[in-house]
Structures are given as C-alpha cells and as structure tokens.
C-alpha cells in the first residue's frame, strides 16, 4: 500500500523564461492570492504551477479553536465558505484528530479580529490542498493539550489517557473537554503529535452532510448582504458604465431632494448616495444627471483584434524537442476562440462599512480579506491595522470576490455620514462593473508520424490578463499573464516535439480570474484539437488520448482515469438514440479531471443529455462535497460552453441582467454521474478542475454526432452561425 507523500510538482519550463522575466513578475497571480506583503515568499510556488501555501500565519490551537461549555468546539476558519463546502471539510479534518463527534464542531469565519490570520485569498482550489495536514496538526495539538491539562488535574502520566467523543478518560477518571477547559487556569501547549495514518481514519473519506446545510435550508445563513447593524444606512453608487471613464459633469440637485436622502458623495469615477432605505438610495441614484468622460467606440471586434495570436510579445511556456513543422508533410491546423464571460454570482457584490474615528470595520462577502485591507489602506486615510474585515458567507465566488470591490466606496460613504453604510451593486453593475473573463484565441498545428501518433504539436494562444490587474507593471515587463491566463496552455501529452507560446493582449477593461483560470479556455482548444488529430489518424478519440499518455506519473493517472471513465461511462455502449459522445481531460494543479458527454441536436439546438465526470484529486475528505463540486462545475461548464458570451459596444459591457446573459437553468440540466478515483495521495483541488473538460467534450460530441466541428464558444452561437452559413 502506498503512503501519502508530497509529490514533486511539475513546473513551468523555467529555463525558458526566468532569465528574462525575473522573480518579481512571477508574483502577479500571487499578488491577487496573497496581497502585496507576501508576494516574495510565494514566488517559488507560483513557478511550480500555481501551488500556493495556505497563507495562514498562525497555527496555535487556542487561536483556531474554542472549547465551549456545552462541549462543542468552535473552529474559526481562515478560509471563506462560498458554497465549496470548506466549512464541512475543515470540520471533518478537525474532528478526526480531536476525537470529537462531527456534530460537535461548529465552524465560523475567522476575521481580522479573531482566529487564525491569513495573508491569502480563498480560491485557486487550494483550501483543502494547502491546509489538509495543518488543520489536523492544530487539532491534534489541541487534543494533546487537553490531555496534558487532564494529566495535571489527575496527577497521572499523559500516556494513560484516552480520548473519544470529546471525553478524556484514565482509569476511573473521566472528564469532558469542556470540564477540563473549565478547571484549567494555566494552559501548557502540548507538542504536535504524529498524525493518524490514513488506515486509521474514522471521519476522513466518509460521507458527511454539510455543516451549513440546515441554516441554509431554513433561510438563516448570514451572507454579506444580510448584515444589519444598529444605525445602518443604505448606500447606492452610480458607477461609470464606460471603460476607464470619469465624471465629466454631474447635477445631483434632484437626487439630493429625493425623499430619504441624507448625503451625496462625488468622487472622480463615481457618485454615491446615502439614504434611509435601499429603495430611497437607488431611486436617488436614478435621478442623478451625469455625463461621462471616456474613450468611446470600443467594441467586441476590438477585443477580438487585440487578442489575436501575433499581437504583442510572445512568451514561450513550453519547448520540447524540435517543434518545427515539416511543411512538406500534411498538417492539421485548428483555430479556436473563447469569448468574454461574466461570473454572474447570485449575490451581487456587497460591503457594509462602519467607520468609527480612526478605525473602520467591514462586513464583507469577499474571497480576499487581505487584499481588500491593503487596497482600502492604500486608497483611504485608514491604516491597515485599523481596518477590520469580518467575512460572511458568500453567495457565489467563482473568482468574482477576489478583488477590492466596493470596499473603498463603502468606507468613503460611511465616513461621510459617520454611520454604518450598506452598499450593494445592482445586477446591472455586477455585469458592467465586474471583472470579465478575458477572451482567448488559439492556433494549433499538428503532424502525425507514420504510426498515427502525434510527432509535432504547437499551441500558440493569445489572451487578456487574469491576474495582472493588481500589478499593472507586470504586463510591460513580461508581456503575458502566463501564470494565470496561461494556466493549462502547455501540452500535457507525451509528444516528442511540442511548444506552447502565449501572446499577451491588452484589453481596456477590468478582466480577472474565472473558475478554472486559464485551464478553461486552454483545455477547450487543446482537447478539441486532440480530437481533430485523432480524426486525422482515423483513431478512436479515447484510444488516441491513451496512446499519448506516456510514463510520467500524471499521465499514468490520466490514462487510468480515462480508461475508467470510458468503461464506466459507456464509451463503447451501442447507441439507441441519435446521440454524439465526446470525451476530454485535463490536469489541473495536481488533479486529473475527465468528462464523457452525450449530446443531441434537436431543432438545431444543442442538448447536453448526459455528463459522466471522473476525478482523481488524491485523498477525498468528503465524497458528498466532492460530488457537489463536480456537479456544480458541470452545470457551470455547460452554461459557459453553450450560452455565455459577454459583448461590448461603445466602450461598455452590453449585458445588464440575466435576461440578456443566458445562463443554464433547470431545463439545461443533463443527467450527471460522478466517478471518484480512490487514492492515497495528498488532496489536490476539486472546485475548479472539473469545469474545464466539459466544453471540449461537448464540441467533440457534436462532431461525432453531426460532423460539424465547432471551434468557438459559446457552442450554440457557433452552431447557429454554421447553419446560417450553410443555408446561404
């Protein structure tokens, strides 16, 4: 039986770029994850393929836990619960080593005022991966500390003590953790003991219900938007909908006279209103007469032009063998595009600021307290140590909540009225003033050898930035956002000669991280092209992929997972209906994820009828939680693959609500099956990897069904264009 060991992480081809880029630049993605203070320390991890540490700076059990009078234990989570189930995962890990029942753990958010501090964001599919060992160590240390206290109370050696169900026993002695805590005046911290081996796990890997399910089902869970503190007023802000625009002229007379309005605050790029009710604030905002100064006429066409291979400075991310194309032999060329996209989280960005003298407290739906704190300190008069951030449940993250958001505006409004202010984006602002997933363009060239295997593969792609927003200097120095937007651009398969090259384009609006990071777009291109190459070779797409899984550990895991998916997903099962089947896979931060998709085309509309997902993410803490994430990623992927596209006209995002930004609904729900690979490797991420294989698997299934190769997302629009062109 294999034991869990830290595996060497497959890194970028460092020799190719480190000499010219220098270490500071690698910090771009780290900056969004960690904030400024910790970038340097995180650099080596960024180079190693987005494997970050947790950013948690404090592992004292008394900081993490509180033993309550009812013998429950409060765990203060340094990672935010945004649906990914991290509270439940952490409760399982803690209960495992604490020897308490799962129900005895109450998980709450840590804040800058209480609990373990963190310099990092919640994201990058990194919370379980980075804290899996640490949380068990902290919990085990608390257990030993309680035992040490009990041994002092009873006078016996610690070795005779036993713990189970939150009770310490020794011979005739018996005390609950709460009783020991009550009787102990002076704590002596025990040494961190050895952790239990996987073979002794009682909790990890077993099915657990979510710790937050009940309050969410009762409507009692408190999200950022639900913050309600005494004296609180309501804010609304008029933001410039045009890229980079500022207020040219503004007349706020009517707004100021509007009922319930207490204050108007005008800034360079926005005008804010504070009122007695949300309705009054929003009504007043609609009465502001404003003209904006901005560069007009930027449209989707310009964004597509800016993001085109050949535009800008290329950065080589992979260069193995000699990937020169032999122009005398036949080659396959595939050109792909993915569009701009929105996060469209259900809870719009929201921030409640409470300024009191030199200090300000923010109640926030944020994935990144540390970054918010830094940016607010930089842009207001408040010192970083005087800014307190209290995280709440987030109504959907997906990368959207990794930024500073409306924190600065909320602080300025609260300061202006001297009272707490509840500031909420409208849905239109959530679309037009958010961070858009950048569009991408991919050109792949491939050649086969005489055995029908790929001898040469080139991937050149262009993208906007995902993580450079925080460091504008990074782009001119290194040319392209290869750590984040370039994630997944390298060709993973064993091919003797292969290259990946990224062209960084400039977009004049806020772009950002979106679930899956660069893996989503890059997997669409590479896994669609693998199908095109298989077709050229006359090979079965699954067999063809397996034939290109060489001897590296990751490729062997990919092979095993693909074989299992093919077998359990019924790749070769005879079809009774006119359906197409497609398959695709990715390797994302140590996790292998693969999808088998079945589609139909009914009245020219793509219907995804069945998705079988297989995932190998190391040790699974909570199978129920993993299935939830895989199902959810599948739905979001179907939505983005079939429907979603942000467009631009006259320098503004054109979508204003769910009526003009179609997302998947119940009607679009396929049958979903989830296969979890058993493993004894340390856990890797789950929230993002399964989103990436779905779009190419759908495109491949459509090709199998109809012979139509769709090379751009969203696929329904691409199919519509295909029919339009063939009708003419």
């Amino acid at each position: 039986m294999k034991t869990s060991t830290e595996k060497p992480k497959k890194g970028f081809s460092r020799r190719k770029f480190l000499a010219r880029s220098g270490a500071t630049i690698l910090g771009s993605v780290a900056l969004l994850y960690f904030g400024r203070s910790r970038v340097r320390g995180a650099l080596s991890n960024v180079a190693a393929d987005m494997k970050f540490d947790s950013g948690v700076t404090d592992f004292d059990p008394t900081v993490w836990f509180e033993v309550n009078a009812d013998n429950s234990i409060t765990l203060k989570s340094p990672k935010v619960e945004m649906g990914q189930g991290i509270f439940t995962g952490f409760a399982i890990l803690a209960a495992e080593e604490l020897d308490v029942d799962f129900d005895a753990i109450k998980v709450v958010h840590a804040s800058t005022l209480s609990g373990p501090q963190t310099t990092a964001s919640t994201g990058m599919s990194n919370s379980t991966a980075s804290l899996y060992t640490s949380i068990r160590e902290v919990a085990a240390t608390l257990r030993e500390t309680l035992k040490l206290a009990a041994s002092k109370l009873w006078g016996g050696p610690i070795t005779t003590l036993q713990t189970a169900h939150g009770v310490v026993t020794s011979g005739s002695h018996r005390a609950t953790y709460a009783e020991i805590a009550r009787q102990t005046k002076k704590w002596e911290l025990a040494k961190t003991p050895a952790l239990r081996p996987a073979s002794a796990f009682k909790m990890i890997g077993k099915e657990h219900k979510r710790v937050d399910a009940r309050e969410k089902v009762l409507g009692k869970a408190v999200y950022g938007i639900d913050t309600d503190i005494p004296g609180m007023l309501y804010g609304a802000v008029l933001y410039c909908p045009y890229f980079g625009g500022a207020v040219k002229t503004a007349d706020t007379t009517h707004a100021a006279d509007s009922p319930g309005v207490l204050k108007i605050v005008q800034d360079k790029q926005w005008i804010g209103v504070v009122a007695k009710t949300r309705y009054a604030a929003e009504k007043a905002v609609s009465e502001i007469e404003v003209s904006w100064a901005f560069e007009p006429n930027y449209s989707t066409k310009d964004a597509i032009k800016a993001i085109t291979v050949g535009n800008g400075t290329p950065v080589v991310m992979q260069d193995e063998g000699d990937a020169t194309i032999d122009t005398k032999s036949e080659r396959v060329i595939g050109e792909y595009r993915t569009p701009l996209g929105y996060h469209a989280s259900m809870e719009p960005s929201v921030m409640i600021a409470d300024v009191s003298g030199e200090t300000v407290t923010l109640y926030a739906s944020t994935q990144n307290s540390a970054f918010m704190r830094e940016t607010i300190a930089a842009e207001t008069d408040f010192k970083e140590e005087n800014i307190q951030i209290i995280p709440r449940f987030i109504g959907g993250g997906f990368g959207r909540r990794g930024y500073k958001h409306n924190g600065i505006e909320a602080v300025k409004l609260s300061k202006a009225v001297g009272k707490p202010v509840h500031l909420l984006y409208s849905r239109q602002q959530e679309f037009q003033n958010g961070h858009v997933r950048p569009n991408t363009h991919h050109i792949l060239h491939g050649q086969l050898d005489t055995n029908g295997k790929i001898s040469v593969l080139q991937h050149e792609f262009a993208t906007g930035s995902m993580a450079f927003l925080a460091v504008p200097i990074a782009k001119p120095i290194i040319g392209a956002d290869f750590p984040a937007a370039g994630h997944g651009a390298r060709i993973p398969y064993s091919i003797p000669n292969k290259t990946a090259k990224i062209w960084g384009g400039d977009l004049p609006f806020q772009t950002g991280l979106w679930r899956g990071v660069g893996m989503f777009a890059n997997t669409f291109a590479i896994e669609s092209f693998m199908d095109e190459m298989a077709d050229k070779a006359g090979a079965d797409p699954l067999t063809f992929r397996i034939a290109h899984c060489g001897n590296t550990e990751l490729l062997q895991r990919r092979k095993k997972l693909l074989l299992k998916l093919g077998e359990k997903g019924g790749w070769n099962t005879p079809k009774t209906d006119p359906i197409g089947r497609g398959i695709a896979a990715c390797e994302d931060r140590g996790t292998i994820s693969a999808a088998l998709v079945e589609v139909q085309i009914i009245d020219k509309k793509i219907r995804v009828t069945r998705v079988v997902q297989a995932i190998d993410a190391g040790i699974i803490v909570n199978p129920n939680g993993v299935r939830q994430q895989v199902e959810g990623a599948t739905i979001m992927a179907v939505s983005a693959a079939l429907f979603e596209e942000a467009t631009i006209e006259n320098s503004q995002c054109m979508q204003t609500n769910f009526v003009d930004y179609q997302v998947a609904t119940l009607r679009d729900t396929p049958q979903i099956e989830v296969i979890i690979q058993e493993s004894l490797e340390l856990p890797s991420g789950v929230g993002e990897p399964p989103i990436s294989p779905v779009a190419p698997a759908i495109a491949n299934a459509i090709y199998q069904l109809s012979g139509i190769r769709l090379r751009s997302l969203p696929l329904q629009a691409a199919l519509d264009t295909h029919y339009r062109n063939s009708d003419q």
């Binding site: 409507g219 259900m346 939830q628 199902e631 119940l666």
Partner: protein, 158 residues
C-alpha cells in the same frame, strides 16, 4: 403610506414608500433576511415568496399591493420548526445547497409547484421552475422535488 400585512402569520404595520419593492420591506423593515436580492427584475427568483398563497417575485412586487395580505417567506415555510416543511426536509436529505444564496427562492417555488403538481415528472419540474442557481445545484433540486412529491403522496395515503 402605512402598510399593514401579515408576515409568516404575524401582523405588522410598516411606514414605507408604497412603490418600494416588497423584498426590501421584508428584508430591511421586517428584518427577515432569508429572502434574497438577485436581479431586481423578476428573472432569477431569489426573492420568491408567497402572497396569499400565490408565488410572487418580491423584487418587482410593490409593497402597497401586499397591504392587507398574508406573506409567507422561507422563515415561515415550516409552520412548526420542529417538523420542517416537506420541501425543506427533502432539501436537507438530498443536500442541495452549495453557496445556498438562491435556495430560499427555489424552496418557495418548489413548495408552490408541489401544491399544483401532485405527481410531477422530471420534465414538469424543468419546465415549471425558472429560478437561477449559479453553483449548479439543479440535479439535486430536481431530486429533492421528486423526493418531496413522494413524501407527500405517502403522507396522504397514511
């Protein structure tokens, strides 16, 4: 104007702008935060409540129209907190919520749907409820509604 209404069987009177959406009256005046703001245009369904037993998207429903009526929110869906509404039981059993933000609206829609559909198929559910969930809990929502329908049937037989 003075708006007098019953929320979750409790009579209350609020002084509010008559055109203010019922959503803000429920959330900010009655302080019941389970009903959520999602889109403000009646599209996503996060703000769904029942008014006199009818399913309503409260972000578009002017507060004055609720005057003299009975409003039920997620907090009042179960008349007895010790015995949850069949929809909430099913939601727990199937472990539907992820971020959970849209779920109160979905449960209010599901409760209304089950009042009208005693023997629903998967397609009935898909074609009747148009709420939006961005975490992608749809497969479990379908499962939970079918489970709740089964439970109702069994309860009616026994």
């Amino acid at each position: 104007m003075k708006i007098a209404l019953k929320i979750n069987a409790e009579a209350s009177t609020f002084e509010a702008d008559p055109d203010m959406p019922l959503l803000w009256l429920i959330r900010d005046e009655a302080k019941l935060k389970g009903t959520k703001f999602g889109c403000g245009k009646g599209i996503c369904g996060a703000c769904s409540v029942h008014v006199n037993g009818e399913l309503v998207r409260s972000c578009l429903y002017p507060a004055h129209m609720a005057h003299g009526k009975e409003v039920t929110t997620i907090e009042g869906l179960s008349k007895d907190q010790n015995r949850l509404h069949v929809v909430q039981q099913a939601w727990l059993e199937v472990q539907v919520p992820q971020c959970g933000y849209c779920q109160p609206g979905f449960m209010m829609a599901a409760a209304d749907f089950l009042e009208k559909n005693k023997n629903p198929t998967e397609d009935d559910i898909k074609n009747s409820i148009s709420n939006i969930c961005r975490c992608g809990t749809y497969p479990r929502i379908i499962k939970a509604i079918l489970l709740a329908a089964q439970t109702i049937k069994h309860e009616n037989i026994n």
